[in-house]
Amino acid sequence: MLDMLSPLLAYLSPLVAVGCAVGTAIAQPAAPGDTGAILAGAASPWRNAHFVLYAYGAVWVGLALYLWRLASLARRLSREIDRLETSAEAVPTGCEEP
């Protein structure tokens, strides 16, 4: 189970990067007469695009941070189990030959 977290992070991290990159590319204000012109009104519909970038970036970063936290908790617990099991094996049971 714990080993599965790392692949999940590995899968999602490039997605986060791609998501942010796509968001950044899309969030660039469009040139006059570009797609924005299909809408009625003088103001460009792209004028607030940076808010979309921030919002999507926040979601990606938030989820990535939570996954990272889960992965680090998993690693810490795994190390603790190894340590406790090793120390349990090292304790003499009192039944050994003198």
């Binding site: 599965m4 999940l8 998501g19 808010f51 919002a55 926040a58 979601v59 989820l63 939570y66």
Partner: protein, 232 residues
């Protein structure tokens, strides 16, 4: 983890990744721009699923809390804890994406509107729940206090949902589940994109709760091993 669980896990991960990619494609390429808000309306497709997962997480946590109070089984407590912790992440995202959408839509990041205020109260309840987990040392007591706290949050859910109807504020009325019918307030292409995004976030929530639940099992095992080590 056995082979079947492992396969389910891999399939779930692939579905989430596929869902996220499909959502981004639908949001940014297939779905057109909304006439009034323009491009900033795209925040809707992540903001609403985050809010939905918040509702879902609290509902699951509430049911598990009641089950824990009735049966005192640690399994229910683990489910309640896992669900609420994941829910806190999504509530935080709601409270971040909401103001980022509010600024272009309303001209301000925050107003003390009923929907926003009750959502903030829910987030504070979640923080209180997580703090109780940390600061109450005895696990049995922590589980009971948290179960009560979780139920307090459940009471806030219908208040949040109906706040826009009960107290006419600045936040728009529900457009997906409304009195007009399911999705009646949305054009069909917007609704399809939202549904894909909702399904993806729901699956992501299920997987995150699964991971958090298993980590809680491992943590209990660590505590048991520590206790045994101290007894020797």
């Amino acid at each position: 983890m056995n082979g079947r669980t492992s396969r389910l896990w891999i399939a779930g991960t692939m579905l989430v990744i596929g869902g996220l990619v499909s959502s981004l494609y639908l949001i940014f390429i297939r779905t057109g721009l909304e006439e009034t808000l323009g491009f900033s309306q795209k925040i809707f497709y992540f903001h609403v699923p985050c809010a939905w997962v918040t509702y879902l997480a609290f509902a699951v946590s509430g049911i598990a809390s009641v089950a824990y109070l009735v049966r005192s089984s640690p399994r229910w407590d683990r489910i309640a804890h896992a669900s609420l912790e994941v829910g806190t992440v999504f509530t935080t995202l709601v409270l971040v994406t909401g103001p980022l959408w509010a600024k272009p839509a309303w001209g301000v990041y925050w107003v003390w509107d009923a929907r926003l205020t009750t959502t903030l109260i829910l987030w504070l309840i979640e923080i209180a729940y997580l703090l109780l987990r940390v600061f109450v040392e005895e696990p049995g007591k922590a589980a009971k206090y948290c179960a009560v706290m979780g139920l307090l949050g459940v009471i806030d859910l219908p208040i949040i949902h109906y706040s826009v109807v009960l107290w006419r504020g600045i936040h728009p009325d529900p457009v997906v589940i409304s009195r007009k019918g399911f999705g009646a307030g949305l054009p069909s292409e917007f609704l399809l994109t939202l549904m894909v995004s909702l399904a993806t976030f729901t699956l992501l929530y299920v997987m995150l709760v699964g991971v958090r639940y298993r980590l809680e099992v491992v943590r209990e095992r660590v505590n048991l091993l520590r206790q045994r080590a101290l007894e020797r």
